[in-house]
Assembly symmetry: C2
Homo-oligomer: 171 residues x 2
Amino acid sequence: MTVSMYKISVPIFVQYLTSLSAVLDKAAAHCEAKKIDPAASLNARLYPDMYPFSRQVRAASDHAVNTTARLAGAEPPALPNADSSFTELKDRLAKAIDFVKGFKAAQIDGTEDKAIKITFPSGATREFTGQSLLLNNALPNFYLHCTTAYDILRHNGVELGKRDFMGTPVT
Amino acid sequence: MTVSMYKISVPIFVQYLTSLSAVLDKAAAHCEAKKIDPAASLNARLYPDMYPFSRQVRAASDHAVNTTARLAGAEPPALPNADSSFTELKDRLAKAIDFVKGFKAAQIDGTEDKAIKITFPSGATREFTGQSLLLNNALPNFYLHCTTAYDILRHNGVELGKRDFMGTPVT
């Protein structure tokens, strides 16, 4: 049972997007109980030049969806960019999870050396192999955004623990 | 060039512990320039029941050292727990990096199914395979603590960007 490109991507993305969705439920319940405007949490940041919570969630789901699509050579779905409510963000996560879950191991495995060229919104391009994209770009960024989303909520007093961050491994 | 237990652990741990060490230099320079007591940064937390910065750094290095030791069946070094200065934390990181770097691929590869039992300070035990330890415990926790250390400094006004977090891939 050797590790593979599939094992280190799809189940990981699904696990942490699912735990993030459950964390959104707790954040929504917290706002409800404390009579806090949800927008205050959705727009909360740790520093003025950092992404707000909603954008951290969007970035995490984008990395999961775009990376699996690029590895498998599939077209990523256009995920909704509306993020003015916890419900809208949960909808985005649900669509991302559905998409990522849809890949079979055979579509992702063996893509270590696949040439992947990414054109950024600025027009700049960067060339990866499947392995360098996943290990050196997608996974660190995915964890960075998942963690920072969690950190923002902790910082804002939502009662969460590490178990909420970790969720349940996908088998 | 398939991915392997070594490729998804040693170079990743080394990359992010190294970038964390460089981030410590920037934090120390920030404190120096702004005449901030380093203890204020070392003890900063995002919420009262979260680890302070120094403990986030310690946790990240512990995960890297203990996990590679357990996978390879080696004895982990006793890392210094002094963390009252940036210099002491950098010393801890340097020792952790040296230890993790010392493993060769042959010592870590093929450990997917290795039975690993961990006894926690509470006395509770948990059983893992090499793969479940690395993918479902060590890597998520490692990224969680590295990111939160970075987030704490950003929140405290240290001028850092994502490149500081990412560092340089280890080849």
